[in-house]
Amino acid sequence: MIDILLLLIIVACAIFALFMKDLLSAIIILGVYSFIMAVIFTRLNAVDVAFTEASVGAGITSVLMIAALSRTKRYEHHYTKEERKKPSALFSKIMSLVLVIVTGAVLVYGTIDMPEFGDPEAPTNQHVSPRYIEETHHDTGIHNMVTAVLASYRGYDTLGETTVIFTAGTAVILLLRRKKKA
């Protein structure tokens, strides 16, 4: 029951964010969206993911979007009636609608074959998961399996992720840093 309510709030957030003319409000609504997502992840017992969603999705992403907004205009461009009736505007509207419907249909089609949530016979619960659940503490001496998988079993992946973030920081410095006037 509460899950359906949360999912409905998420859909409402998405719709409101689309129709906001004030982009700052749209960013705040996306922050709300991320927090509700975090609650949903907690409901699914994925606490680590929920934590990341709350800190990254709701926290930092909103701040960085506001920072980016400070370089542009706060309000959406207002289209006049003539501009809206142009064939090119109509064409792009119809094309994006078709694109969204096709993508949504493909995603829904993909979920049809998925096993039921929490099904112990599902392939994801048959492959490596039992090994992680049973052996993690013995292998690494760490209680939190998620951390053990990230830091130890999949240590190379996490090293790659850190390098990706490092590269993002370097790229931002290279592209946006203004030189001081001599």
Binding site: V56, G59, I60, A67, S70, R71, T147, A148, S152, I173
Partner: protein
């Protein structure tokens, strides 16, 4: 935001607590939810809060461009460096159990602490850097 006294006082009051929480999250990744990435993001957010309340100039006084640039690469270096130490200690790359730190369990535990700290440093200072470079100076209407 510089002229809003409530924002300034609240930001000043909360910054150390948020930072303490960030260190808690980094250090307790092995026991509860969280870890280097989340903790690093929270640490970065605390400094961004301070900068939003007090302005870019004041923020750069606290964390100079040079220091944050060096710390961005330090984190990744700590991570990769621990891997190299594992090789020097006779194991494979990132095989923490081979580190000469007592028992295998303790060594792998401490090795994971090390890389979590590395991840945290890089993430925190990359976030700060992106914020400093993206936000435009002297904008008051937002």
């Amino acid at each position: 935001m510089k002229e809003h006294i409530i924002v300034r006082i609240v930001a000043k009051f909360f910054t150390p607590f948020i930072q303490l929480y960030a260190f808690y999250v980094i250090a307790h990744g092995d026991l509860g939810p969280g870890g280097g990435f989340q903790g690093g993001v929270i640490l970065g957010a605390s400094i961004i809060l301070y900068v939003i309340a007090f302005g870019m100039e004041e923020g750069r006084k606290r964390i100079s461009q040079k220091v944050s640039d060096i710390l961005v690469s330090t984190g990744a270096l700590v991570y990769a460096g621990i891997g190299v130490f594992c090789i020097l200690a006779g194991g494979a790359y990132l095989e923490y159990a081979e580190l000469p730190l007592g028992s295998h369990h303790l060594a792998s535990h401490l090795g994971m602490y090390g890389i979590e700290i590395g991840v945290g440093i890089t993430v925190a200072f990359v976030m700060i850097t992106i914020f400093f470079e993206t936000a435009k100076k002297e904008r008051t209407d937002i």
